[in-house]
Amino acid sequence: MNKPVLDIRDLSVSYNTPRGPLRALRNVSMKIPDKKIVGIVGESGCGKSTLISAIIRLMAPNATVGTGEILFKDKNLLDRTTTEMRNLLGVDISMVFQDPMQTHNPVLTVGKQMVDIQYRDSLPKADKRKRAAEMLSKVGIPDADARLNQYPFEFSGGMRQRIAIAMALMAKPSLLIADEPTTALDATLEVQVIKRLRELQEEVGCAILFISHHLGVIAELCDEVVVMYAGEVIEQGSVRDVFHDPAHPYTRALLDCDPGHIKEKTRNLPTIPGEIPDLVDVADGCIFQARCTHVHGACANRPNLQPVNVAHNVACHLNQTEGAV
């Protein structure tokens, strides 16, 4: 069995706010296996942005890491110095961000930017440019060599995102973190970007941590999925297991709400009533109990992640009392 390229163990992160510490992540654990694509699904307030910022160590000034480790290739990222992180980011850990309109420097040509980020390599400039053009072709941008001379504004959003992916994978990282890379794109462009991402991943052989709230894309792209709610991991497993046999009421409700899932036309769409709980004054017990239709006595105690099946875990008391639900 391969060692996971990223192993997050019992991570807790809080933000200092005037009302008190806001516990954005509570005992979050997950493994990203080598060369696999793992999706993180969650809605606003689930903590996925905090998680990413913790991994790349670019947290807000008022953030504090409580417990936990983030092991990248067996070394804890939380112990790394700023210099060490700088040497890792862009080389072995790359990122693609949500907003393609803001990812690139608007006053430099794409070619210059793609050559610049190869600054650690001691190749002659012409070779770097050639690599850049190759990468552009790989992500499906025609006429790559000419387009290196263009500025970001001359490309559409979908193209810019593909360029961002090309740049992220040029260094052949071990881990690519993609934070909602297709959220700002039209659906038809999303299709293109996902396809390229998959192709490149196979070629480069990196692992991908893919964050999205778009369930359909996760189902299509990812091998495994982690479902987060209000700062906790509540279910994880292979995409097939989680989407076909969701064990947690939240996952089930989320799938039910997805309009793509609802086959029959209806005037009364399902929703999850209520709001995410207060993360400053975290109530005891299961984090989802206030909105759960199956809440019962045991829920007053916080459930741990337990296996439902092989490599399929859920944090829910229903799993323990009744077995596979």
């Binding site: 933000y15 806001l22 606003s44 307030g45 942005s49 905090t50 709001e275």
Partner: protein, 291 residues
């Protein structure tokens, strides 16, 4: 549920945030000191600022004269306090006038038709092209030096400063989604300008004004230093600098007494203005939360 939204009043909100910032607090304290001493000046001055007392002239600081005396035996400390009153007497009407006119012109330039905008910008550029001091000299040569002259001159040359800012803000607000929404409800131009644009412009304007006060005070001091400002024997920090400059060998305390209040005013208002700006901005953008 985020139930704990403390809805303080606007002023309360501003004061709360100001006091959390050390420099802002320092600015607030200094400014309050200056303002209060200016208001209460006639009652708190130990001596009559224009009362001469030749035998006691050019003394250094002592218990009876905290900052010494000037060449005519007048108490410097009293003159400093009264000078502060004069400074604010110039600064406040000047800035108030410049803001009123600049606000009006800026809003109609930013929101109105292109030809009006071009015309007003031309006016602003013309006014700005006059170097303030030259303009003041010209006016004074015509009309003679006085407090009102100084106020008028500085006000006219300050209009473009506020006008341009208001114009730019109005232009950017004009294409905001909420203005379009108001138009979709049928709001008239007057309503849009008065209810929706004006309140959003006042915040940055207030910040600008706070930072501008030291400039205006400095201008007044400069004009008075050149003899173009307030007529003697009315004390002004500028005239103190002028006297101190020529008498520096006799006593350095005159020039110190003219300079230090200017420095303090600049620092105080600048700290306050910067802190105000930090308070005003995030509110306009909305509360940033943590994800």
């Amino acid at each position: 549920m985020s139930t704990d939204i403390k809805t303080r009043s606007e002023i309360g909100e501003i004061l709360y945030h100001l006091t959390r910032d050390r420099l802002g607090l320092a600015g607030l304290i200094i400014v309050s000191l200056i303002v209060f001493s200016a208001i209460l000046a006639p009652w708190i001055v130990p001596y009559d600022p224009i009362a001469m007392n030749i035998p006691d002239r050019l003394q250094g600081p002592s218990l009876s004269h905290l900052l010494g005396t000037d060449q005519l035996g007048r108490d410097t400390f009293s003159r400093v306090i009264m000078g502060g009153r004069v400074a604010l007497q110039v600064a406040i009407p000047t800035i108030a006038g410049a803001i009123s006119i600049g606000l009006f012109l800026g809003m109609i330039a930013g929101y109105g038709p292109k030809w009006l905008d071009t015309l007003i910008v031309l006016l602003f550029d013309t006014l700005r092209s006059f170097p303030t001091v030259m303009f003041a000299l010209a006016v004074v040569a015509l009309v003679g030096p006085s407090l009102n002259t100084v106020i008028l001159v500085i006000m006219i040359t300050s209009i473009p400063t506020y006008g341009r800012v208001v114009r730019t803000l109005t232009q950017s607000l004009r294409s905001s989604e909420f203005i379009t929404a108001e138009k979709s409800l049928g709001a008239s131009t007057t309503r849009i300008l008065g209810v929706h644009i004006l309140p959003n412009v006042l915040g940055p304007l207030a910040v600008l004004a706070a930072m501008d006060i030291p400039t205006v005070v400095g201008l007044e001091a400069g004009l008075s230093f050149l003899g173009m400002g307030v007529k003697p024997p009315t004390p002004s920090w500028g005239s103190l600098l002028n006297d101190g400059y020529s008498l520096i060998r006799n006593t350095p305390w005159l020039i110190i007494s003219g300079g230090i209040p200017l420095i303090l005013t600049t620092l105080g208002f600048t700290f306050l203005g910067e802190a105000l700006r930090d308070v005003v901005d995030p509110k306009l953008r909305g509360r940033g939360g943590v994800k």
